[in-house]
């Protein structure tokens, strides 16, 4: 591979891992627990800003061309951990305001408002995170202590983001396949009934809000360390919509479905649009990308709302298997009755 191709592949892979991480986190909220968090991208942004600010050093220390609060120069993993903490705190705050006793679509609307507020704040409060220009020249982690060529470093970063991504996916998978996961799915299906069976609906929603928030913040941190820059125009509210599309297309509440969606939509579709030959204006191209994303979403919700890889049916046999070495006898009668089902 030529250096340019390698760079392209490296970039795509890092983007894919970051998108996948975010989609899994959002799917825990949306696909599993039924929380419509239209402010999801804000958590990624919060993580990115936190990481950037804690890597860049003091605001006055870089020639004064960008202004922000709370600058520091912390060693490598700390900014990412701090980003997660910020993600958690933000999730607690937003969740406390927006999740209480509201219908799911109503929650979605409040979250949309939150997303727009957040962008408005970052845009207009110039000294907070440098306004519309955003933060730039974020140093790459450990770049000085690792003596690798830029490409070598790139591949190392791919491995790093891949490992983090798989770790995140594995932890979320554990949650989904545990008794807690079943409770979350039940809340998604009917919150009133879940509460009538002793489940703390608001508490559970807040929990997935916090987990998803931490994951999104972590992904933002990784992304900003890779790209080196972050600005409000990169996390407008429709960006969250792209992630929803990925989950809907791939298959919500299915780990592999979500992975497929993350590959097809934020990575695949956006790359594919670039190759449409007839359009030569970049703004029309951007519009076209959104129009296609919107059409894909509507088409899937119309034709195949469960997505390409639907949620797995948890059979009695599989539930039994999870706690026993062997399935119990009753499972024998179950399989034939399934054949008669609709």
């Amino acid at each position: 591979m030529s250096a340019a191709t390698q760079l392209y592949v490296i970039t795509l892979l890092v983007y894919f891992f970051v998108d996948l991480m975010v989609c899994w986190g959002l799917d825990l909220q949306f696909g599993v627990a039924g929380v419509l968090n239209f402010a999801y991208i804000v958590f990624q942004a919060a993580g990115a800003y936190t990481t950037a600010v804690l890597t860049l050093g003091p605001s006055s220390g870089n020639g004064g061309f960008q202004h922000y609060v709370g600058g520091a120069r912390l060693p490598f993993p700390l900014p990412l951990l701090a980003a997660m903490v910020v993600g958690v705190l933000l999730a607690l705050f937003v969740g406390f305001i927006g999740l209480r006793r509201l219908r799911s679509d109503y929650q979605a609307m409040v979250m949309l408002v939150v997303s727009v507020i957040a962008t408005a704040i970052a845009d207009t409060q110039l000294n907070l995170v440098n306004g519309p220009a955003g933060l730039a020249l974020v140093p790459k982690p450990l770049a000085s202590s690792i003596s690798l060529s830029p490409l070598g470093y790139g591949w190392l970063f791919v491995v790093f983001s891949g490992v983090v991504c798989v770790l995140v996916g594995w932890l979320i998978h554990r949650i989904v396949e545990s008794p807690l996961g079943r409770t979350l799915r039940a809340i998604r299906e009917d919150e009133r009934a879940a509460a009538a069976l002793g489940r703390n609906v608001n508490g559970s929603r807040l929990l997935v809000f916090v987990i998803g928030g931490a994951v999104a913040a972590l992904s933002g941190g990784i992304l900003v360390e890779f790209v080196g820059a972050w600005a409000p125009s990169g996390w407008l509210y429709p960006e969250t919509f792209v992630l929803f599309t990925a989950i809907i297309v791939g298959g919500r509440a299915n780990v592999f479905g979500v992975a497929l969606g993350a590959l097809l939509i934020p990575v695949g579709l956006q790359q594919a649009v670039e190759y449409i030959p007839i359009v030569n204006s970049p703004t029309v191209l951007a519009s076209l990308e959104w129009i296609i994303t919107g059409l894909v979403t509507i088409t899937f919700l119309w034709v195949r709302p469960q997505g390409l890889l639907p949620e797995r049916r948890r059979t009695v046999r599989s539930i039994d298997r999870a706690v026993r070495r062997r399935a119990v006898v009753i499972a024998a009668g179950t399989s034939e009755s399934l054949g008669g089902g609709p």
């Binding site: 109503y106 507020i117 029309v284 076209l288």
Partner: protein, 297 residues
Amino acid sequence: MKGDLLVSAIGFGIVTASVLAVGAVGFTLQFSVTNILNLAFGSVMTIAGFTAYALNARGVNIWLCLLVAGLAGGVLSVALNAMLFAPLVRRGTKLFGMVIITISVALILDHLVQAIVGPSFFSYRVSAGRTMHLGAMVFTTTELITIGIAVVAMLALHVALKFTRFGKAMRAVATDPLLARACGIRTHRVVNLAWFLSGVLAGMAGVILFIDTATFSATTGTEFLVIIIAAAVLGGVGHAYGAMLGALVVGIVSEIAAALINPSLKEIAAFVLLVLVLLVRPRGILAEVAANKEVVA
């Protein structure tokens, strides 16, 4: 001096509130009847606004354009429901699915407009007219007409909801669709009428918004929708009078914050207010209707 500034800010606030009120009432009216949170409302505003622009640019008077735009908004709104939203609801798409559908429509429509008109900004051909002083408040004739339109629209809607057969039917459907159907109300017609009225209000809100902001682009409507939502949520979604109240509060508070503290705080102030209200009353100020609906849903 500070007092004068405050009073003049309230004047600006009333103009903003007028635009907001027309939008918020349209948004909430359709929601209360159909139970769909329509985030494509802002795109209907934009398309109606650009329809008015197309006519206005050919020399048609802006107030005549406003009527045409209202009609266009109504037709578009009914068409969206008939072609997309209603069939999806019949296919069993759930509430969250519908939110995602309406947001998809918003993106598609906004970007279609953008692809056609480009990313630049536009203005209507309208003269601001003479300025009038009411104490420290200053209004242009255009602004006064805007306020007048909002007041007339609100009054007309109030009378229509309260006293006409369709209005009563609409309120009945909003409270309990099944019961309303059982009572012989043709819910289908009522729902269509709600989409139409909401679209008309969206169209009008679009034009007076574009007049008020002086310049506009393909995304202005949807950007403003968020403030409309803030007003509607503040008042208690599904509650027409709550929406009017919310509009007034959001409009005035944001202008005061902009005038007295910092212009960059204009929108943020409205949102902070919304956050505070939601902390105290999670369903908005006039929440009874929204709360009852929740039991029904």
